[in-house]
């Protein structure tokens, strides 16, 4: 603690040294209203979000910059359950405030061409479009499933050393581990762990409880760090990276099933934890014959074998009175030292008539883990701009997900989200989207099939 306090004062003392005359605080940002209604009887509301996204920046003449991004939001609908709730404005009209980023950046820190950034920041690694397997330094923000790929800021110290315009080295140190946050609202059940548990024959889950173990409250356990080399060779941007990280999503460690009665009612308790891993990353982006191409891959090496233990407490009914008996089964998800690889390959092209096409193949989505647990995603978007970008239509936009090629007809998901985007002026964007979901199988996106929706979002940049 003492060391952290010294570090804090050292950093801000350095900032005071570097920061001389200020150019004044500039305020910008975005106002967003995002509404979704389900296409089913009664048209229940699926999403209501009104967000003021404030971006504050102040530059100092001594090569220093302060930047902050703050969300002030009203999300969801009032959850009033009793008369007393009406006396609580926080329940009647819930507003939350989120500091997405708040950092200070010093250029030419100690030596020329070294930039130092301290504070909460979103560290952008990877060249793929929204789905970046090499981005393992920012906690996942899964709040809105349809805004996949969103990350929260990480509390980090970052060093960027520019060798020249094409090559630089980036090193990141994060002293605190912060887990991913889960979906909310109608999407809250998508990641419900209970749905992933297969009960032994004859038993029914009557209750579910869970325990999450965070990493120990010490620097060595919480620390996440990474280093990246970025360069340009033979017409392609590329980077190589390494992260000493932790899974931002909790994994099963123990499943404890307690049979409660002769009818087979069973209480299930699950222990979760956040395993360590080493991650090697590679990405590239470039252009071949006018077609933009990119690729990104990350190999995850679990530190130690990843396994979970199932414990069943039941009764031997062959005896009278029935005798308690315990069965224990260890299941290995990933052997020690054996990596699993997630990757993305993509291409985009703008045709002479202004039609833009973007295709990505993704092996292993954000929430998927381990060999055998990674699904394939084919994402395609075709859009056409009209009236000098005032109107954009995307009649083909969506994803086809395959969970099992051998039995494709029972193991696929189709997400179809055509859009119309209208820009009445440069700063305003109105988007009308349709979300039609279908499929069969156990993929979490298949559970969206009862949630077809119509969405309207209005954005205003200021």
């Amino acid at each position: 603690m003492k060391r952290l306090t010294i570090l804090f004062f050292a950093i801000f003392g350095m900032i005071a040294l570097y920061a001389q005359d200020s150019t004044g605080l500039s305020i910008g940002g975005q106002l967003l209203s995002n509404e979704r209604v389900l296409l089913k009887k009664g048209n229940p509301w699926a999403w209501n979000e009104n967000r003021l996204d404030l971006k504050l920046q102040e530059n100092f003449s001594g090569n220093a910059k302060f930047y902050a991004q703050v969300w002030i939001r009203n999300i969801g609908l009032p959850q009033v359950g009793q008369i007393n709730d009406l006396f609580n404005k926080g329940i009647v009209d819930p507003i939350n405030l989120e500091i997405r980023q708040a950092y200070v950046q010093i250029n030419d820190f100690l030596v020329k061409n070294l930039d130092f950034t301290a504070g909460r920041q979103i560290i952008t690694w990877g060249t793929a479009d929204k789905i970046n397997p090499t981005d393992n330094l920012n906690p996942l923000d899964l709040e809105d499933v349809l805004d996949f790929g969103r990350r929260r800021g990480a509390d980090a110290l970052r060093f960027d050393y520019y060798l020249n315009n094409d090559w630089y080295i980036e090193a990141v140190a994060e002293p605190f581990f912060r887990p991913a946050n889960m979906p909310v609202g109608i999407y809250a059940n998508l990641f419900d762990p209970a749905q992933f548990i297969t009960m032994p024959q004859g038993l029914t889950m009557s209750s579910f409880s869970s325990t999450i173990t965070l990493p120990d409250n010490k620097l060595s356990s919480q620390f996440i760090g990474g280093i990246k080399l970025k360069g340009f060779v033979a017409g392609f941007d590329f980077s190589l990276s390494y992260v000493y990280g932790r899974d931002y999503l909790p994994l099963f460690k123990n499943i404890d099933m307690q049979v409660l009665d002769a009818q087979g009612n069973t209480a299930v308790n699950v222990d979760f934890y956040y395993p360590r891993h080493h991650i090697l990353g590679f990405d590239f982006a470039g252009n071949i014959a006018g077609i933009g191409v990119w690729g990104e891959a990350a190999a995850f090496f679990p530190k130690g074998a990843i396994k979970f233990t199932s414990i069943l407490h039941t009764y031997d009914m062959t005896q009278f009175p029935p005798q308690p008996v315990t069965y224990t089964v260890d299941s290995t998800l990933q052997k020690k030292g054996l990596p699993y690889v997630k990757y993305v390959l993509g291409a985009d092209y703008t045709f002479p008539d202004g039609i833009y096409a973007n295709f990505q193949f993704v092996h292993g989505f954000l929430h998927e883990r381990f060999n055998g647990g990674l699904n394939d995603y084919y994402l395609l978007r075709i859009e056409k701009s009209l009236f000098y970008d005032k109107l954009k239509i995307a009649p083909i936009s969506g994803s086809f997900i395959v969970t099992d090629y051998k039995e494709l007809k029972d193991n696929y998901t189709l997400l179809y989200m055509p859009q119309v985007i209208y820009k009445p002026n440069l700063n305003t964007e109105i988007t009308l989207s349709l979300g039609l979901f279908g499929g069969k199988g156990k993929d979490i996106f298949t559970s969206l099939k009862d949630l077809d929706l119509l969405a309207l979002s209005v954005k205003y940049d200021f």
Binding site: D160, D389, N427, E429
Partner: protein, 240 residues
């Protein structure tokens, strides 16, 4: 005697041809000398984009320029475009930065023909490169008021040729760009004014002849020879 006459005619022909070629190159040299005379410049500009129906969009940007071959453009407004950057460096090295993604991209030579941020100017148009280094010149005509040069690209380009009109003060007045199908595709028009010892384009308008869309760039303020640091012309500064 006959052979001597033939030789004289040949010499005269070669000489006249050479003079004409040299003149075109000399004119281009003078254009380059005048239009990029300052050691460096920092300009605040307003871009007005006009579509075929007369609807306008206005953007503002800052341009830093140095040593004839370094240029950085950063949008300052509107909010949706603020921070978008374009950097041109020697040896055809160009970068673009989109703050929404937090990533810079080096522009491959095969996509130099793409338009920058919705304007009528491509990355190739915005590249900081002198006419002399970009084109071979041929004098098409000259009169008391102007010279007309045909420019052909020295390297792979989106254009097959350009017709440059230069006034008697050796300042560009207009450039007509022809696409690879040899069809006139774009016209740039300039209005040069003098500030102190230097001439600069107070306004420049690019018109796409196919879409009838135009981009007018007006210089709102300009400062010359302030000793801009080389650090400004870097990916690092573009991203800040």
């Amino acid at each position: 005697m006959k052979a001597k006459h033939i030789l004289l005619i040949l010499v005269a022909f070669v000489f006249s041809f050479n003079t004409k070629a040299q003149t075109a190159q000399q004119i281009l040299d003078k254009v380059d000398q005048l239009t990029s005379a300052p050691q460096d410049a920092k300009q605040t500009i307003r871009m007005t984009l006009t579509d075929r129906n007369g609807h306008e969009q206005v953007r503002t940007a800052i341009i830093w320029q140095k040593d004839k071959n370094k240029r950085l453009i950063k949008f300052t407004s509107p909010a949706a475009y603020k921070g978008i950057g374009f950097l041109s460096l020697p040896n055809d090295v160009m970068y673009v930065y989109m703050p929404a993604y937090g990533k810079e991209r080096r522009i491959a030579s095969s996509v130099k023909n793409q338009k920058f941020a919705g304007t009528d100017l491509t990355y190739e148009d915005l590249q900081a490169k002198s006419y002399k280094n970009k084109y071979n010149a041929k004098l098409l005509s000259k009169d008391a008021d102007k010279f007309v040069l045909e420019l052909t690209p020295k390297e792979r380009s989106q254009y097959s040729k350009a017709i440059l009109t230069v006034n008697k003060d050796y300042l560009p007045v207009q450039v007509e760009f022809y696409n690879r199908g040899n069809k006139k595709a774009k016209v740039l028009t300039f209005n040069f004014v003098k500030s102190g010892n230097y001439w600069y384009a107070k306004t420049m308008t690019a018109k796409d002849l196919k879409t009838k869309h135009s981009t007018k760039m007006e210089v709102l303020s300009t400062k010359f020879d302030t000793g801009l640091s080389d650090d400004i012309f870097s990916v690092r500064f573009m991203k800040q």
